[in-house]
Symmetry: C2
Subunit: 336 residues, 2 copies
C-alpha cells in the first residue's frame, strides 16, 4: 500500500510540491482573508466565509506567492497581495452566481440560492472594495494598475461570455477571447505581482505574466472539457452544467464545426432554443466523441501548457520552478 | 411671464448657480465618462450609456468639481476624479437594480428588465474597475484610499439595508446607519477629493467631508420622504415604490413608533408579510399624515442641512461657497 501510494504520487502531477513550498505563506494569506472579510454587518463575513471556505485550491494566491519566491523576494508584501487576488476571484465567483429569472426557471441552484442574487452582488462588491483597500495599504501603484486592469478585462470577458451564450455561431477565436479575459487574466495578474514586488526587471514580469496567462487558458480549456467528461462524473461532480446553460465552450465549437446538418439542428435546439429532452446530454456526449471534440480541446490545453512552461525559462532552476512546472502538468492531468 | 420666471428663480433654490460655476469642467467630465466607458464589447457602452445618460443631475461629480474650486485648485485632475465618482455611483445604481426572484414576482421593473440581472452586475463591475483604473492613472494613493474606503462602506450599507428590509423593528439609528453608508459616504468622498487634490490641510479635507456627509444624509431623508408625498406624484414620478418593496425608511420608523396596535398590524402585514391590497398605499399615506411622519422626516433633513452649511464656515466666502450653500437649500426644498 505504502509503495503504491508513493508510486502514485510520483506518477500523478499534483499541487503538493507547490503547497509544501508556499504553505507557511498561504496560512498567512488565509488569516489575512479571514481578517479582512470581517464587517459589523454580520451577513458579510457569513456569506463571504461560505464561499471563501468552499474556495478550494487557492491556486491564484499560491501563484502570487510562488512567483514572488521564484524572483527571490524576501519581504512579506506578497501575503496581502495574494489575499487581494483571492478576494477578486471570490467577488467574481459571487457575481457569476447571479442569475436571471430565465435561468431560475431552468432550475439552476447555486450558493446564491441560500441568500439571493442581491446579497451575492453586494458581498462581492464589498470583497472587491476590500481588495483595493488592501492594495492601497500596500502602497504600490504598479500593483493597483495590474489588478484594476485585470478586473476591467475580467468584466469585459464575462459580458462577452453572456453575449456568446446560446450562440452556436461562436468561433474558436471568440471563445478563446472569452476565457483569456474571464479566467486567464487573473492568473496572469496573480503571477506578474511576484516579480513586481521583488523589483525585478520588466522582462521577468512579462515572462511571469505569460506563464500565468497560458496556464489560465489551459486551466479553463480543461475545465470546459471536463464538463462533458466521464472523469468528472467519476469525481462525483455534476456533468453537463454548461450544456444546460447553453454555454458555448470549445468542445461544442469543434463538434458544431465538424457536424452535419442534422447535428447542427440538435445543437441549435438544445443550446440556442434551450429545449432539452432527457437523453440530450448523452446524445451531446456521443456527438463530442464522434468528432473527437474532447481530445481536440485537450490538445489545445497541452499547447497552452507547453507555452506556460516555456515562459518559465528565464527563471532560475530549482524547486520553485519545478513546482510551477508541475502546476501546469497538474492542470492538464485533471483532464485524463 | 419673464418677470414671474425671474422671481421664481430667486425664490426657489436650484442647482443653477453650481451648474453655471462648474459647467465647463462638467462638460469635460461628461466627455471623460463617454471616453472611459468604451469597450470592444459593445453591450458595455450600450448599457452603461443608457444609465449614464439617464443619470440626471450629476450632483456627486459637481461636488468634487466645486470643492476643488472652493479650495483654489487650478489644475485639471479634478475632472477625471469627478468621472470616477460618477462611475462608482453608476455601478452602485446598476447593482442596486439587481433583483431576486421574489422581487420579480412583485412586478418590479427596472433598467435591468431590458438586459437582465447578470448584464447589470457585470457592466457595474466594469465601471467600478474603470474608476480604479482612472484613479491609478491619476496616481494619488490618498484619493484611492478615499474611494476604496467609500466603496467598501457603501457595500456594507447596501447589505445592511437588505437585512433591515421588511423588518418593522428597524430603529431610527439603524436607518441612519444605512443611509449614512449607502448614500452619504459617496457624497462625503466626492467632497473630500476637492481639498485633497488642492493639497489643502487635513482640517479643510475633514470640513469638506463633513459638508458632503451631512448633505448626503439630508438628500436621502428627503428622497425617502418624497416616496410617500403628493409632491412626488405632482412631478409625475411613481409614489410608494419603497412601500411596495418593504423598505423601512424614516417615515415608516416614525409612524410605526407612534402607531397603536392596529396600525402596527397594518405595517407588519404590508411591509413584513408583503401582503398588499389596492387601498393600502393610501392608508399608509393617511397614517403617515396622522403621525406627522413626513414633517418629522423633513425636520431631520433640515438639521442635517444646517450641519452641512455650518461645515462650510472655514472656506472663503464667495460665489462657490454660496452655490454649495444653495445645493443644501435645493436638496431640502425638493421636499416642499
Amino acid at each position: 500500500m505504502a509503495v503504491a501510494a508513493t508510486v502514485d504520487r510520483k506518477d500523478t502531477p499534483s499541487l503538493e510540491p507547490l503547497t509544501r513550498l508556499v504553505g507557511d505563506d498561504l496560512a498567512q494569506v488565509n488569516q489575512r482573508i479571514i481578517e479582512y472579510m470581517q464587517s459589523p454587518v454580520a451577513l458579510i463575513p457569513q456569506l463571504a466565509g461560505h464561499i471563501v471556505a468552499a474556495g478550494g485550491k487557492r491556486l491564484r494566491p499560491m501563484l502570487t506567492l510562488a512567483a514572488a519566491r521564484l524572483c527571490g523576494y524576501a519581504g512579506d508584501r506578497h501575503v496581502s497581495l495574494a489575499a487581494c487576488v483571492e478576494f477578486i476571484h471570490t467577488a467574481t465567483l459571487l457575481h457569476d452566481d447571479v442569475v436571471d429569472e430565465s435561468d431560475l426557471r431552468r432550475g439552476i441552484a447555486t450558493a446564491n440560492a441560500v441568500w439571493g442574487n442581491k446579497a451575492s452582488v453586494l458581498v462581492g462588491d464589498f470583497l472587491f472594495s476590500r481588495a483595493f483597500q488592501l492594495m492601497v495599504a500596500d502602497g504600490s501603484l504598479e500593483v493597483l494598475r495590474i489588478l484594476s486592469h485585470a478586473s476591467a478585462v475580467i468584466a469585459e470577458g464575462e459580458v462577452l461570455q453572456l453575449i456568446t451564450s446560446n450562440d452556436t455561431g461562436t468561433t474558436e477565436e471568440s471563445y478563446l477571447e472569452v476565457i483569456r479575459a474571464k479566467t486567464a487574466q487573473l492568473f496572469a495578474a496573480a503571477c506578474r505581482i511576484g516579480p513586481v514586488v521583488a523589483g525585478r526587471p520588466a522582462a521577468e514580469a512579462d515572462a511571469m505574466e505569460a506563464f500565468g496567462l497560458n496556464l489560465g487558458i489551459a486551466f479553463q480549456l480543461v475545465d470546459d472539457m471536463l464538463d462533458y467528461s466521464a472523469k468528472q462524473a467519476e469525481l462525483g461532480k455534476t456533468v453537463g452544467d454548461d450544456f444546460r446553460d447553453g454555454k458555448i465552450t470549445l468542445p461544442i465549437v469543434i463538434a458544431f464545426a465538424r457536424g452535419d446538418a442534422e447535428e447542427r439542428a440538435f445543437w441549435r435546439r438544445t443550446l440556442e432554443d434551450q429545449e432539452h429532452g432527457p437523453d440530450d446530454l448523452a446524445h451531446a456526449q456521443m456527438l463530442l466523441r464522434r468528432h473527437g471534440a474532447l481530445e481536440a480541446t485537450m490538445e489545445r490545453a497541452r499547447d497552452y501548457g507547453a507555452a506556460a512552461r516555456a515562459a518559465l525559462a528565464p527563471f532560475p532552476a530549482g524547486p520553485v520552478r519545478d513546482a510551477l512546472d508541475e502546476v501546469v502538468a497538474f492542470c492538464i492531468a485533471r483532464g485524463f
